[in-house]
Amino acid sequence: MTPLFAIAFRNLLRARRRTLLSGGTMVLGSAALVLGNGLSDGIARQLTRSLVAVQTGHLQVVARAQDFQPQNSPFDAYSQERLHGAEALARRIETEGKSAGVVRAVPYLYGRGTAIAGNRTSLASVVGIVSTREPELQAAHPVEAGTFLPEGDDLAVFIAAPMARKLRLGVGDSVSFVVQTPQGAVNSLDAIVCGIFRKGAPWQENTFYVSLSAAQSLFDWPGDATNVKITLADGSASFARKLRPRVLHMAAGGPAPEAKTVLRVETFEEAGRFSFSIIQANQTALAILSSFLFAAAAVGIVNALLMSVHERTREIGTVRALGMRRKTVVRMFVLEGLALGVVSAVAGVALGGAAVLYYGWRGIPMNTITLAWIAGGDHLFPVLSAANVARAATAIAALSTLAAIYPARVASRLEPREALHHV
């Protein structure tokens, strides 16, 4: 086998231009594959992290209308229904679920209204949180000015930078919220901006964080909330699914849900269908693109090796006349393909990996609204994973090897007598 490898490498070096062209296709193909996977993984990571940190946790307890139909919108994760005794429920889940892997269970209240500052107004998503118990949310919203929501301050509000610009608000400025409570009354809250956070996902631009008690008072739901967000020690979807029946059992022990609503425990995948449909669409697009890349690379390899067979017809005739068996000829050409594939894969993943690392550090600006919605933020940070690198390298090497089979079989079928007369 080793001499055959040496012959394969030597043959590749004999026709450098052709090797460079077909190898170059594969280098670019594998680099594109690594970069494409890096982008796709980056989008998946950004969307999932934001969803889990800000909206759903790994599991969430909500009350949903019996006829609830998700709209495939990022706001589907927020419930519109009242979750009675949410604070007590969160405490119970955290205490009883500790041994099962529950790290934290926190209630929050989501509602909509109007934010008014001077003569400027905007639609507002008002989210009441327990600020001291939201480390992931705090990390997902880096402070640009001021501070994160202070504990126990029912007059403070933490807002996104685009909203601060829109309403011309700075730290220390006052903003009023007017909402219609779920019962129907109009209510208001006057708050002072304590901090401004850098924009994350575009659908969080209208979000105003206030304390849970301020939101409960604003929406006239004392002690209640809309969601209980549960963080698990193991953040995988499979673990969340495994733990769900247990959490549902704990939740069922609490106050009964309101009429025409049902209590549900949803994994982050179920609650964040919008994000996961984007992730799935990206993965599908990448798979389609990869298959075209593979097809183009395969055609290049087949063509290059067929040319090689044609040019080396007399040589093949000679080695066959000297006693080389057909099987060995096939092996020689297949090894040539493998050698080309391995070298191209190494160069390609190095190139693609370097690009992923560079953009992962610098970020790719998502300058349009559509791009920002797809990436879940105004910058996309691709992710380099060992699995993706290995997958791309293996795929390219395997493709090159498989693509060499046909030219190898063509070469092996040459009759020594005719091959020796080939001009």
């Binding site: 003569n119 007017v178 219609q180 009354a185 109009v186 208001s188 006057d190 006239d220």
Partner: protein
């Protein structure tokens, strides 16, 4: 003790608060009416927006308003029926349900203010004082919402004491006790056969400089209106 004494003294002189409220509520539009009005929405730094509309009302539960100008908004219509408010947008050829808190025609009145609010049904009135407002002697009524489903938890309402029962002003408060907006009712004139306030001006206490004025151009009291006028399908068909 002094407030109790004041209440007793006021009660001795004035009609019951419920009666004042009932008469004041019918001062502008009667139980059934057809009208035309001009709405002017003012926002600081922006051009005033003027919309003219035709409206019909039948009791507290049925109401319809249809825009007649400007031409690009002509045909837009709001309907109040069976506890719901509907909006018809001719450009989209669609009838959509709208919330009571959403603003009416982009102004400072909410849909609830126009169609939903029934002061006599939704509030318990008490006579709080006699005050002079804009040179007019008035009864000051404190209206407290009967339950938490009513839009404004509290309304302070001033009604003229000169026997006309014309409302002069209303201040609307949120659950948290914040004054949200106030309505002034003036420009008393004879229209549709009787004298009444013809201009309602709503101002926002939160949005500086925001003001919406509704001026009645014509009013016909007590027309015969078919209930079928107040259905979503009629809304879509237009006039």
């Amino acid at each position: 003790m002094s407030s109790l004494l004041l209440a007793v003294l006021l009660a001795a002189q004035a009609p019951p608060a419920d009666e004042i409220l009932r008469r004041a509520q019918g001062a502008v539009l009667g139980e059934t009416a057809a009208y035309t009005l001009r709405m002017t929405v003012a926002r600081p730094g922006k051009t005033e927006r003027v919309v003219e509309m035709k409206g019909w009302k039948k009791g507290d539960d049925l109401g319809l308003v249809r825009y007649t100008s400007p031409p690009r908004e002509r045909g837009t219509a709001y309907l109040r029926n069976a506890g719901s408010t509907w909006l018809y947008l001719p450009s989209a050829e669609k009838v959509v349900r709208v919330g009571a808190k959403q603003n009416f025609g982009g102004g400072d009145f909410s849909n609830g203010d126009i169609f939903r609010l029934s002061l006599t049904k939704d509030y318990v009135a008490t006579l709080a004082a006699e005050e002079t407002v804009d040179g007019q002697a008035t009864w000051k009524l404190e209206l407290k919402a009967r339950d938490r489903s009513v839009a404004y938890d509290r309304i302070v309402y001033w009604v003229r004491t000169d026997g006309t029962f014309f409302p002069v002003r209303a201040d609307y408060y949120t659950l948290s006790g914040r004054r949200l907006k106030w309505l002034t009712m003036g420009e008393v004139a004879k229209i549709g056969g009787r004298t009444r306030p013809t201009e309602l001006a709503m101002e926002s206490a939160l949005e500086t400089g925001a003001r919406t004025v509704m001026r009645f151009l014509t009013i016909e009291d007590g027309p015969k209106l078919d209930d079928r006028l107040f259905t979503p399908s009629a809304l879509e068909k237009g006039e």
